[in-house]
């Protein structure tokens, strides 16, 4: 433990704690635009400077560990004035179009400038002469708004191991771009959107597609239907002042009807169907030796893209099952349309997702058009939905609770936990156990694969077999697991795992790239807790128990992995070049 003083107040912190973090203990907020709790300090902005009493030098609080007996001053006239100059320098290199910016009212730079009470521009404006990159049709890079804090580069390289973004050039011309100055769409970018989630300004934002949805909703020829992903319900409340992790599923159903959707479905239903297919796929591979082990989950489109680009040797291990929202999408335009006698061409499916990669997934291959047209027409992020709610003038907080529309709306506890890391695995094991044993597990919770450890492993005894599973989230943790498999295969050793779940984003979908800003581990855990609470409160907590899923197979699909399922609910993977050109 280190004992020191900050602004004359005693603090005791663990060794290695930065001055920035230590200051929080005594309710002191040191401004920064580049340090993010998820990332190592970048020391780029120069705002977090502090002094040691008696020394004229200034230190960066983000990357200086507090040392025994240090006497730190975080605010004095000189420090504040230097910070102000630095902030004004940033502004001299940043456009003044806050009112039209995607981050208006939600921008770290904007609020800091407001905090400092900066009312005028002291320095001449120099704006970089560069154009927006919206080539991915998923995330938009606007280099003019970039303050070169480097968070996105750290996220892309260190957290996600994708290396699509890097710094180019130097000095005043420094900018963020894919290496070689190519377009993002031609780079290794997997569209996970973590860059947009960590960007302090509006330099990287999701492609806003709310206008498309408004158009569809106003078009009388369209039969607009919608679905919400598991992680959206526990995060949307953050935009409306709810405590983090509040589950707002039923308010969302009501809201979406108010917005004009004719039917409101739930992606969790699709998750239950995914488990029926993927669980059966696992049994086939594990118990009947058809297909290669380990089976690797494929419901995360960022992960799929990453695998296709960087690990195509793993294609055979991938579950061919589509992701839950694609399943709800294709079923809405086939099964639902049939039952309700609606022309599938008129159905317009909108997915509300915690994810930017879903915008890319809906057009990733011909299998995404299994219904005859595009199965999901638009994927909106949680952030976009929050904007739509505000635009529609709906008093979200005071909405009554409502229920989803039938057939594709009801879900089990297994369906909702898809939103947290480890959830897909837990849900799949619940059903696999049932399929192998004919009865449910005694204890459904698998606590060893919950939580935020980068790689979590467990051994689950089922029917005399020991099933070894691994769960990885945050793509920099994946390599380790894949290498274990490759090593075992190469040396002819027993496979380390039978079943692997991978989510591209830290924490799984609750920490998705399309979720509200300001994500931290604490926040990921709270959102996940909201999800696990939903599971806990459900009467039915295993996918195979969902009566509507049972009805779906009885009336429409036949059986899991049957001919119709294969056609509608499964897909293929192919190796992709890391760089397009």
């Amino acid at each position: 433990m280190v004992r020191a003083k900050i602004n004359n107040m005693p603090v005791t912190v663990d060794e290695g704690t930065s001055i920035l973090d230590a200051a929080k203990q005594v309710q002191v907020k040191i401004p920064t635009l580049c340090k993010h709790p998820d990332l190592p300090p970048g020391a780029g902005c120069g705002l977090c400077i502090v002094k040691i009493k008696g020394s004229p030098k200034m230190l960066r609080a983000c990357c200086t560990p507090l040392e025994e007996n240090m006497d730190i001053i975080t605010h004095d006239p000189e420090i504040v004035s230097v910070r102000r100059t630095v902030l004004e320098l940033i502004l001299s290199n940043h456009p003044n179009d806050c009112l039209q910016c995607g981050r208006n009212n939600n921008c770290e730079l904007q609020s800091l400038v407001a905090d400092f009470g900066i009312r005028e521009e002291s320095f001449q404006k120099f704006l970089p002469d560069c154009v927006k990159d919206d080539s991915t049709r998923t995330i938009v890079l606007d280099p003019q708004k970039c303050i070169r804090c480097g968070r996105c580069v750290k996220v892309c390289q260190e957290m996600q191991n994708v290396w699509a973004l890097s710094f180019l050039e130097r000095g005043f011309s420094t900018r963020i771009s894919p290496a070689g100055d190519i377009k993002l769409a031609d780079s290794p970018c997997i569209r996970c959107g973590q860059c947009s989630n960590h960007c302090p300004t509006g330099a990287i934002v999701e492609l806003d597609e709310t206008a498309k949805v408004w158009d569809a909703l106003r078009n009388e020829d369209k039969y607009c239907v919608v679905q919400i992903a598991p992680a959206v319900r526990v995060a949307i409340g953050e935009a409306f002042g709810y405590p983090i992790g509040t589950n707002l599923t039923k308010k969302l159903y009501a809201l979406l009807r108010r917005l004009g959707f004719k039917a409101v479905f739930d992606t969790n239903f699709g998750a239950d169907v995914t488990i029926m297919e993927e669980g059966s796929e696992f049994i086939q591979r594990f118990a009947h030796g058809k297909g290669s082990l380990p089976l690797i989950t494929s419901c995360c489109p960022g992960w799929v893209d990453f695998m296709e680009k960087f690990h195509p040797d793993m294609i055979d291990h991938f579950s061919s099952c589509k992701s839950p929202h694609e399943i709800v999408g294709v079923l809405s335009k086939t099964y639902y349309a049939q039952k309700k006698n609606i022309d599938p061409k008129k159905i317009y499916m909108v997915s509300i997702m915690p994810c930017t990669a879903k915008k890319n997934e809906i057009i990733r291959g011909e299998e995404m058009y299994a219904s005859g047209s595009q199965d999901v027409d638009v994927a909106l992020t949680t952030r976009e939905l929050a904007r739509m709610i505000k635009q529609a003038g709906i008093d979200f907080v005071n909405l009554p609770d409502e229920e989803p529309d039938q057939m594709l709306g009801d879900y089990t506890g297994a369906g909702v936990i898809f939103g947290a890391t480890g959830g897909v695995m837990e849900a799949a094991l619940r059903t696999a156990y049932y399929l192998l044993n004919g009865k449910n597990m005694d204890k459904l919770e698998l606590n060893s694969i919950r939580g935020l450890d980068g790689v979590k492993v467990a051994e689950v005894p089922i029917n005399g077999h020991k099933i070894r599973v691994a769960v990885a989230h945050g793509l920099n943790h994946v390599e380790y697991v894949l290498d274990q498999i490759r090593q075992a295969e190469k040396n002819g050793r027993e496979l380390p795992y039978h079943f692997i779940e991978v989510m591209a984003c830290l924490g799984g979908c609750v920490g998705g790239g399309g979720q509200p800003y300001g994500v931290t581990d604490e926040l990921r855990l709270k959102r996940a807790a909201g999800i696990y609470q939903d599971d806990q409160g459900k009467e039915k907590r295993c996918s195979h128990e969902n009566p509507f899923v049972q009805q779906l197979y009885r009336e429409f699909l036949g059986k899991p992995l049957g001919e119709k399922s294969e056609h509608l609910l499964h897909t293929h993977y192919r190796a992709l070049p890391v760089y397009v050109k």
Partner: protein, 581 residues
């Protein structure tokens, strides 16, 4: 008879000299049948500058040095001095007694490409003594007593750096020789590497022994091809003699050296950026702590020393700490090499004991001013340094004194300025260098430098306002306090020091729109002195923008609104009729 060595170096830098003195000497030797008795060696640096062809003959009774040797003297030299050991008094070079050559002890004395010559000058004896007789602790203790401080600029005690690295616990440690010399006008490291590479290799090996590293790197800028070539050769020779590699000189000390080339970024001379560059990453500084002595190259403890520092090591070990510490001032021991340039008669590398005054360097060693213009200031420390006005010429040169005057010792650039140098222009030049070389990582340096440069640009163009001076001071403070590395922290120094000592010049530029040195061309006014004008019309014909009009009767006049201050009229007028003010 022992073979004589004839070292030659043409120290005249005028471009039209293409005399092949080497061939002349070979011919003369051949004609006198002395080609077996003497060998001609071309050296890169002979330690004497601007003295025409310098010839040094060794191997005879006395070493003979001739300066300003003409082609016609060559035969004479061969006949009398080489053959008969006689001195030709009228050619004899008289050295300034103020220099003391420790670092440059061998430069120009030995063939840098021949290890035997280095060994003949006690080379590698220090290494032999260290590995066979001294413990690492004793080596560090000796350095501590010697008082040697880092010659890269900051003056950090060398023993302390070594001791910190020695005490860091790790199985692998590294030593690096920083030869990324980049200050404009400075070439001390180049002189040493090209003139005496073995002394640096020996110093690096001793450093490796002292801190417990078995691997060293030379980080040399690629713009020094001859230095790179000579270091490569020297390393190979050292390996061949068992002075590098396994079990050096019969001890159990192993040490390998590799070369890494810098790609031309000034900031890579900063130690953490240098490490990033060696590791193959973008050359940007990272926050310290952790210091490289704890976590350096590949996260291992690493000691980084400048070329000149390392060149001191072997001598200190051989001659002893008390000999070394007797040289210099109380806090700054030993000698310092300066690259003396600018408006001084003898420019070149000079090595002087610490504590010598600037006046002695400029007038006794440098031979005074090159023209009849009066000295105005001396700039030290390169772009990170400052200008020292002539009032302080009697200040003894050491780390502390230069800092007190608002400049720094730096790596050893020393530029003499006279009345024709404009201080605003000088500040603009140095700041411009740092702005170009900023890595772009942190805001104060990236944007602050650019803003300051634009303000200086406006001032030099007559667009400045008095409040700009406050703006300069304000940004300078932010850069000094909040920049991450020394480049940004010191970049404003040339501006701050010229503002401190030459405020009147800034005033002249801003208020009176005058540049008294006639350097800032936007502030120049050209006019035609009608009394001197012969109406020849040459100026009007040559004016590129047709700013000069008139006729033989009325005379010719320059329209200041059209004039672009190119100076063409001034150059072409044969009658000095164009006035420039």
């Amino acid at each position: 008879m022992e073979q004589k060595l004839i070292f030659i170096k043409d120290t005249d830098n005028s471009q039209d000299r293409i005399n092949d003195f080497y061939a002349f000497f070979l011919n003369a030797l051949k004609e006198n049948k002395l080609d077996q008795a003497a060998q001609v060696v071309r050296v890169a640096d002979i330690g004497i500058y601007d003295k025409g062809l310098v010839v040094k003959i060794s191997g005879g009774a006395n070493e003979i040095i001739y300066a300003f040797v003409q082609e016609a003297n060559i035969n004479d030299i061969v006949c009398r001095s080489v053959k008969e050991d006689k001195i030709i008094p009228e050619l004899l070079f008289k050295d300034s007694p103020k220099q003391l050559r420790i670092v440059l002890r061998n430069c120009g004395q030995i063939d840098p490409e021949n290890i035997d010559e280095y060994i003949a000058c006690d080379g590698y004896q220090a290494l032999e003594k260290v590995v066979n007789q001294l413990t690492p602790e004793q080596v560090i203790e000796e350095l501590k007593k010697s008082g040697l401080r880092g010659r890269g600029g900051a003056g950090f005690p060398t023993w302390l750096k070594w001791n910190l690295t020695r005490q860091a616990k790790d199985i692998q440690k590294y030593v690096i020789c920083n030869a990324d010399e980049g200050d404009p006008g400075a070439y001390m490291d180049r002189g040493v590497l090209e003139g005496d590479p073995h002394s640096v290799i020996e110093g690096l090996a001793i450093a490796g022994y002292a801190i417990g590293a078995n691997k060293g790197y030379f980080y040399v800028r690629a713009e020094y091809p001859l230095a790179v070539e000579r270091v490569e050769k020297a390393i190979k020779q050292a390996y061949d003699r068992g002075l590098l590699g396994k079990n050096i000189l019969g001890s159990d000390f192993n040490f390998d050296i590799d070369i890494r080339l810098g790609a031309g970024a000034f900031v890579c001379g900063e130690e953490t950026a240098l490490i990033a560059s060696i590791e193959g990453r973008r050359g940007t500084p990272r926050p310290r702590p952790p210091y490289p002595s704890i976590k350096g190259l590949w996260d291992r403890p690493t000691a980084i020393n400048n070329v000149e520092t390392l060149a001191n090591i072997a001598v200190i070990i051989l001659k002893g700490a008390s000999w070394y510490s007797a040289i210099g001032t109380e806090k700054s021991k030993g000698t310092k090499v300066f690259a003396l340039t600018g408006k001084v008669k003898n420019s070149g590398l000079v090595e002087v004991p610490m504590g010598i005054t600037l006046r002695e360097i400029v007038f006794d060693i440098g031979g005074g001013m090159i023209s009849d213009k009066e000295i105005k200031a001396v700039q030290t420390g390169g772009p990170s340094g400052g200008v020292i006005p002539k009032e302080f010429l009697d200040t003894p040169v050491d780390y502390e004194n230069l800092q007190k005057l608002g400049s720094i010792m730096g790596s050893g650039g020393m530029i003499v300025m006279d009345e024709s140098d404009c201080m605003v222009d000088i500040a603009k030049f140095y700041l411009g260098f740092c702005v170009d070389e900023s890595c772009g990582k942190c805001v104060p340096c990236r944007i602050g430098g650019y803003q300051m440069l634009s303000v200086l640009g406006a001032i030099s163009e007559g667009q400045g306002k008095l409040e700009d001076l406050d703006k300069l001071q304000r940004i300078a403070l932010a850069m000094q306090k909040a920049s991450l590395c020394a480049l940004g922290q010191t970049a404003p120094n040339p501006v701050v020091s010229t503002l401190k000592y030459f405020a009147q010049e800034y005033h002249d530029h801003i208020v009176n729109k005058k540049c008294r040195s006639h350097k800032c061309k936007h502030l120049l006014n050209y006019s035609i002195n009608q009394d001197k004008c012969k109406r020849c019309k040459v100026c009007a014909i040559n004016c590129p923008v047709k700013a000069i009009t008139g006729d033989k009767e009325k005379g010719f006049f320059i329209d200041p609104k059209i004039c672009v201050r190119c100076g063409k009229c001034f150059d072409v007028c044969k009658f000095n009729a164009i006035a420039k003010e």
